[in-house]
Symmetry: C2
Subunit: 252 residues, 2 copies
């Protein structure tokens, strides 16, 4: 620990995740970051590992406030979903958070390079039930910590602390430049193509694929391809969830 | 890193800094925390070690923004003063920061126990000259990380990031409860006793110790004792600095 951290910063910034040992080193470093937030800020931290499809979790003081039981406090979860938070979260806020994450990841992919993803932080606010069953405002920060050599996001930390700010607007921050971007509906524009929006609008009206096919004069295969793309872009499993999310985003 | 951090949290929270090896372990852990903030938030971090009278420093992206030269980026400073920030800081903000730190440390000493000092964060804002010589708002967070078995503060991290908040009021936050206290002039009340205030007021009027002694009908030794106590309580070296600080605190 005494040594200067420059070599590790180089590892993050200059990208060389091409060998197994580099990836192990990177994972160790990112776990240390996640664990440190728990230690220093009483946070609950979940770090998602997109390749292994699991999460590494760290629990400190806020876990007691939220009444997260000993059984829920596992150090590694077999999914990217930290259900110990999601299950306690107000459903409206969970959808909004989902929408804001999509906008955030889309924003950094469009405005930065993988080497600089970790300069960006998404900060938003959620109502989460505490140990007494009352909703508390919780601050959620998402930091994309590591990418692979192809620029895919590998590790992303979600840090949960009790909200102490008056202002609860979702924002993207660049920690290197100090630039702040308050999220607006504009951040959701163009996520779906014009055609995908037409298909989604008809799905939302309750039309079946066959009916959509007739309505738009396209083949049913094309409708199904659009459906798949919509689900993928909105990172949901079912069309009904896509519709709900599109309403949250102000697209429908 | 893979292991659960519970044992380390125990070390912080249950206090057992009575052996050399525990202290080494604690120092290593706290250095990791300081270094992690630099890595994850592009921060400049200085962790003061009150016993060894030195600071451990970590530099990331913000160091470039502030134009901190390679010569200034030493990993260990032989004092508690991070001059790479202080020298760039607006003089008014440096005094205010000093006043706010005194109020903070006094607040936690009066309202918490050493085991829980690290639940508290002081957050305030400073104008610091950047690489172009222009003042930038910098956010300063101070986290008291470790105390010795007598409850004395041993290690305290100062984390500097670019300010992204609209609101620049100094505040104390309890990360365990979410409680926030906005600093007011009330936080500076009663730092000095009534008699010490009388002495300081006369010093501020330019009176010498002999004159103060005559004026208050107390011995010159007593005046000098009060002088010493004032300097100690306000953590300054000279009476003129004490007067300046008392003006910032609204005491004079």
């Amino acid at each position: 620990m005494d040594k200067n951290f420059e070599p590790i910063e180089q590892l993050y910034l200059s990208q060389a995740f091409d060998t197994e040992s580099d990836e192990e080193q990177m994972l160790t470093e990112c776990k240390m970051i996640a664990r440190t937030y728990a230690l220093a800020e009483n946070a609950v931290v979940s770090m998602g590992d997109n390749r292994r499809n699991c999460s590494y979790c760290y629990f400190s003081g806020v876990a007691d406030v939220l009444g997260i039981s000993p059984e829920e406090r596992v150090s590694q979860l077999p999914s990217l979903y930290e259900n110990f938070i999601f299950d306690r979260c107000h459903p409206d806020d969970l959808s909004r958070r989902h929408a804001e994450e999509i906008a955030f990841l889309r924003y950094i992919a469009g405005n930065s390079t993988p080497q600089h993803y970790r300069d960006y932080v998404l900060c938003n606010y959620l109502r989460v039930k505490d140990a007494c069953g009352e909703y508390r405002w919780v601050k959620h920060r998402m930091i994309p910590l590591a990418t692979d050599k192809n620029g895919c996001l590998l590790l992303c930390a979600c840090i949960y602390t009790l909200a102490t700010d008056e202002d609860r607007k979702a924002k993207f921050t660049n920690t290197r430049t100090g630039e702040v971007r308050i999220l607006t509906n504009k951040d959701y524009e163009n996520i779906l193509s014009k055609r995908e929006m037409e298909v989604l609008r008809l799905i939302d009206q309750g039309l079946l694929s066959k009916e959509i096919s007739d309505n738009l004069c396209i083949s049913i295969n094309t409708v199904n391809r659009h459906r798949q793309n919509i689900l993928q872009k909105l990172k949901v499993d079912r069309a009904i969830e896509a519709c709900k999310l599109a309403h949250v985003m102000g697209l429908l």
